[in-house]
């Protein structure tokens, strides 16, 4: 559940910490394992990370369950991280989130797209905004959302 390529990256992280402190790389290792596993961490991923970093499984699980960005269930292909913090909220984010969720429901796109409300993503200039997987989309409105969603496959 950790690819060879990810292992190489993890090794680079391990090398940054003092010898014997390899567990400091746990967050990076979990992140990579999550990517390798198609977006979420299952039992095997957590065990693999524990094994690779010589940690107890439960301490890896502690980290994996603490942070919001580790998923523990299969995820849709696209995760829309919709900001609902102050700037975006003042520019109508809440209505847009409702709109987007309704749209996903109506068009039965649940397996393709899922929405998560998140705090400020540091792009207030373009509020309201969201992040879809690795890309930012700014100055959103209903029409733009329609275009973006129809472009997702």
């Amino acid at each position: 559940m950790i690819s060879e390529k990810s292992k190489q990256t993890i090794d680079k992280w391990i090398a940054k910490y003092p010898k014997g402190q390899q567990q400091s790389a746990v967050m990076e290792a979990l992140k990579l394992s999550q990517i390798d596993n198609g977006g979420y961490l299952d039992k095997k991923c957590i065990e693999a990370v524990a094994d690779y970093l010589d940690m107890s499984v439960i301490s890896v699980a502690e980290v994996a369950t603490f942070y919001e960005n580790y998923n523990h269930k299969p995820v849709a292909k696209y995760t829309v991280r919709f900001c609902h913090n102050i700037s975006c909220m003042l520019n109508g984010a809440d209505n847009l989130i409702d709109y987007l969720e309704a749209k996903i429901n109506a068009e039965k796109l649940g397996e393709l797209v899922q929405v998560k409300k998140v705090e400020c993503l540091g792009a207030c200039v373009g509020a309201p905004m969201c992040q879809i997987n690795d890309d930012y989309f700014e100055n959103l409105n209903e029409q733009k959302i329609n275009e973006i969603i129809s472009g997702l496959k």
Partner: protein
């Protein structure tokens, strides 16, 4: 020494101490949940807040180091207001289920809530609920009650050495749990029950049995291993209902191993032997003690006493017997004129009994800088000795292991030297040679031609360099043909490197047997020779030969010899015993008889009986006393167990070993023998009859261990695969087992091993 002021009184304290340690010593009560003196400081419950002069807000006593002239108040208004506030927060999510909670009456939360809690809750919202997991046969969880003190988490990480409990999730969703469906499997896990301040972790076998205040607590000492852990047996209406740890900082600190905690279950097993029985013409009859003892006397008279053949009488005993039992039984045998006495049943080469001194104190193990473990799965054999060694490792000591297979340690040994059993002597000879050369001592002629390998050089160098080294000898050595040489080599190595030794090879109450002289001396037969000597009569103390002997089939055969008269004192019924015995006397087991344990330091710890034995069973020492009277032996007019204790500890026991291990006689043949060696060790929860009858322990992962491990090459030689059985034990292939070695961890010993 610093001086601080607590509640207006001057108290002195050591620099660096935390406030709570000082208040505890001064007997001032500061409430706490997360603090435990043997665990790291978490300071997460905030219950221990105290007012410190000059500090605007109260501070936690558990994590505030003292400073000269500090003035603190533990009971003023400021403190009380904060403590009450903390209490209110803690109770927000705690269920009000004390009436159905096993912890009720011994709950730290309940106690503190009595002092600091409000009568009426202001919290009207819904409380959180946490689903329970089944984490094993020993610990019951009710996690809704958990207050997240993390004692159990830290215990796993810091004491048990395997982190099994953890805190997953965050904030309101934080849960204390093991990973998914993992259980709690460590050999020390039961201590979590003791340290959990609330009823979240309680004893599963004890669930819903009784309230703590209904029971009487009797101080006891465990006999399962060489430590002599102090404990409390808690009894109700003549039954042991629960065992908890009793603190003794020199012995077991505040911990006990799971087998100490849960073996009491076996006491009420249906297989307990309840009535004396005699066998008449092949049929068993229940009889009174008088009839039984008369029968015993007649039998002994006929078999050996009347015809003056006392040298054809032998006595063998389990190694969990008490000091007094060992002492009386040997006194009877010596009284009638024989020295055929032994308790060392599962050793190949008794002449070479590893009669090495154990000359280190348990507490000193913590300050070692080097440990060399030879032939031991120390963690499961002697959990608390291992714990002390682990402490040394955590504070920087180095530990090397020379074993026949790679065992799980809960610390990181420097080197796991996995070598074939028949190579161990050679390795140690190499170590000795290097040691002798570097200390400019004369190299013995036998060692001249030896070429020490890299491992030997490394071990020797480390032993020489260390200021405080210990060599730990384990049980596996008793199985190795060259055990005599090994014993001699280790004595020499220890001498020349100024190392201490810790001999854990004979466990349980063996040291008491040695002290009591329960060994053949120079003129008697030892356990192995007795079996081949066609004795006419035996007195067997709580022996179950299919489990206990080095060569069990041979022992069973010897006992079944038609004209051998056998008096069997047993605490449990047993098919095999029924087969060969002529008379069966029911005796007490743990907690049912007063007695003494002698631990690895030679410390004699006496304990009273907590309950009486079931049915007609009697403490064996009383049986021996009556038997001695019937035999009209002088010197048995004891009225109390303590009289025997003092006599046993005073008397000079006959010299145990016939071999002088101070001189090495390595000429015996240091070249290793070819062929495959079997190292057999009883499963950790099967080492004595009580453990074998304790259901909860048998259900644990450790309790289920039953494997014949070997590497692929050995399996090939033996023509075995992963799915086969070897000598009735399932084969496990593992490359962490040495060449030419089968490591069997099983209860029974069923195959003829020759001698």
């Amino acid at each position: 020494m610093l001086e601080i002021e607590i509640d207006g009184a001057k108290v002195s304290a050591d620099p660096g101490e935390m406030l709570i340690a000082v208040t505890d010593r001064a007997g001032i009560r500061v409430p706490r949940f997360c603090y435990h003196k043997h665990l790291s400081i978490a300071a997460n419950c905030r219950m221990c807040l105290v007012d410190i002069e000059g500090s605007p807000k109260p501070k936690p006593a558990c994590s505030t180091p003292i400073a000269e002239g500090m003035k603190i108040w533990t009971h003023n208004d400021k403190t009380k207001i904060s403590q009450k506030a903390v209490m209110e927060f803690l109770l927000i999510n705690h269920p009000l289920d004390c009436p159905i909670c096993d912890q009720g009456g011994e709950c730290e939360l309940q106690d503190v809530a009595m002092d600091y809690g409000a009568d009426i809750s202001r919290f009207t919202e819904g409380k959180r609920i946490v689903e329970d997991k089944d984490i094993g046969a020993l610990i019951q969880t009710d996690m809704t009650r958990c207050i997240h003190c993390t004692r159990c988490v830290r215990f796993g990480d810091e004491i048990a050495g395997v982190m099994e409990m953890g805190a997953t999730g965050r904030g309101e969703n934080l849960k204390i749990e093991p990973f998914l469906a993992y259980g709690i499997d460590s050999e020390l896990s039961g201590n979590m029950i003791d340290i959990c301040p609330v009823g979240a972790l309680t004893s599963k076998p004890f669930r819903y049995e009784l309230r703590s205040w209904q029971m009487q607590s009797v101080a006891g000492v465990s006999r399962h291993d060489l430590v002599g852990s102090n404990l409390l047996s808690q009894t109700y209406k003549g039954k042991v209902k629960r065992i908890v740890a009793r603190e003794n900082s020199d012995i077991n600190e505040t911990w006990i191993a799971d087998r100490e905690r849960f073996s009491y279950q076996g006491l009420s097993h249906e297989n307990r032997l309840l009535m004396p029985q005699i066998k008449i013409e092949g049929k068993w009859q229940e009889v009174t003690w008088n009839v039984a003892l008369d029968f015993a006397l007649k039998g002994l008279n006929n078999a050996v006493l009347n015809n003056k053949q006392t040298d054809r009488l032998g006595a063998l005993a389990t190694n969990t017997a008490t000091l007094e039992e060992f002492y009386l039984l040997q006194k009877i045998l010596r009284g009638v004129g024989t020295q055929n006495i032994d308790y060392r049943l599962n050793i190949k080469d008794l002449d070479a009994t590893i009669n090495l001194p154990s000359n280190i104190k348990l507490t000193d193990l913590e300050t070692l800088d080097y440990g060399l473990i030879i032939g031991a799965n120390l963690r499961l054999e002697q959990p608390l000795i291992n714990h002390r060694l682990r402490k040394a490792v955590l504070s920087g000591a180095m530990v090397d292991v020379v074993n026949v297979a790679e065992f799980d340690f809960n610390y990181q040994p420097n080197n796991h030297n996995i070598i074939a059993p028949n190579q161990i002597a050679l390795l140690l000879a190499g170590v000795l040679k290097v040691v002798l050369e570097s200390t400019q001592a004369e190299v013995l002629p036998d060692l001249q031609n030896l070429n020490p390998n890299a491992t030997a050089k490394q071990l020797a160098a480390r032993l020489l360099r260390a200021d405080n080294a210990v060599i730990v000898l384990g049980e596996h050595l008793l199985n190795i043909p060259q055990v005599a040489i090994i014993a001699a080599l280790i004595t020499q190595i220890a001498q020349h490197t100024d190392s201490k030794t810790l001999n854990t090879s004979l466990s349980a109450n063996s040291k008491a047997a040695d002290l009591a002289g329960f060994t053949p001396g120079r003129d008697g037969l030892d356990a192995n020779t007795m079996l081949t000597a066609q004795l006419k009569a035996y007195i067997l103390l709580d022996i179950y030969p299919q489990y206990d002997f080095y060569n069990s089939p041979k022992a069973i055969e010897a006992f079944n010899n038609a004209d051998t008269f056998i008096i069997a004192l047993n605490s449990f019924k047993d098919e095999v015993v029924l087969e060969y015995a002529d008379i069966l006397l029911p005796i007490a087991n743990f907690y049912e008889s007063p007695g003494s344990h002698v631990n690895i330091e030679g410390l004699v710890q006496s304990f009273p009986a907590a309950v009486s034995a079931p049915g007609e069973a009697k403490p064996a020492w009383k049986v021996f006393k009556v038997l001695a009277d019937l035999l009209q032996l002088p010197g048995f007019d004891y009225t109390a167990n303590q009289q025997i204790t003092s006599e046993a500890t005073m008397h000079q026991n006959p010299k145990l070993s016939k071999v002088d291990v101070s001189k090495v006689d390595v000429s015996i043949d240091l070249t290793m023998k070819k062929g495959i060696d079997i190292i057999w060790q009883k499963s950790p929860y099967a080492i004595d009859v009580l453990l074998r009858h304790s259901p909860a322990l048998q259900m644990t992962k450790i309790g289920q261990i039953n494997t014949a491990s070997m590497n692929a090459a050995t399996a090939k030689k033996l023509k075995l695969t992963q799915t086969d059985d070897y000598l009735g034990v399932p084969v496990v292939l593992s490359e962490t087992v040495a060449d030419d070695c089968v490591f069997i961890n099983a209860n029974r010993q069923t195959w003829d091993r020759g001698q």
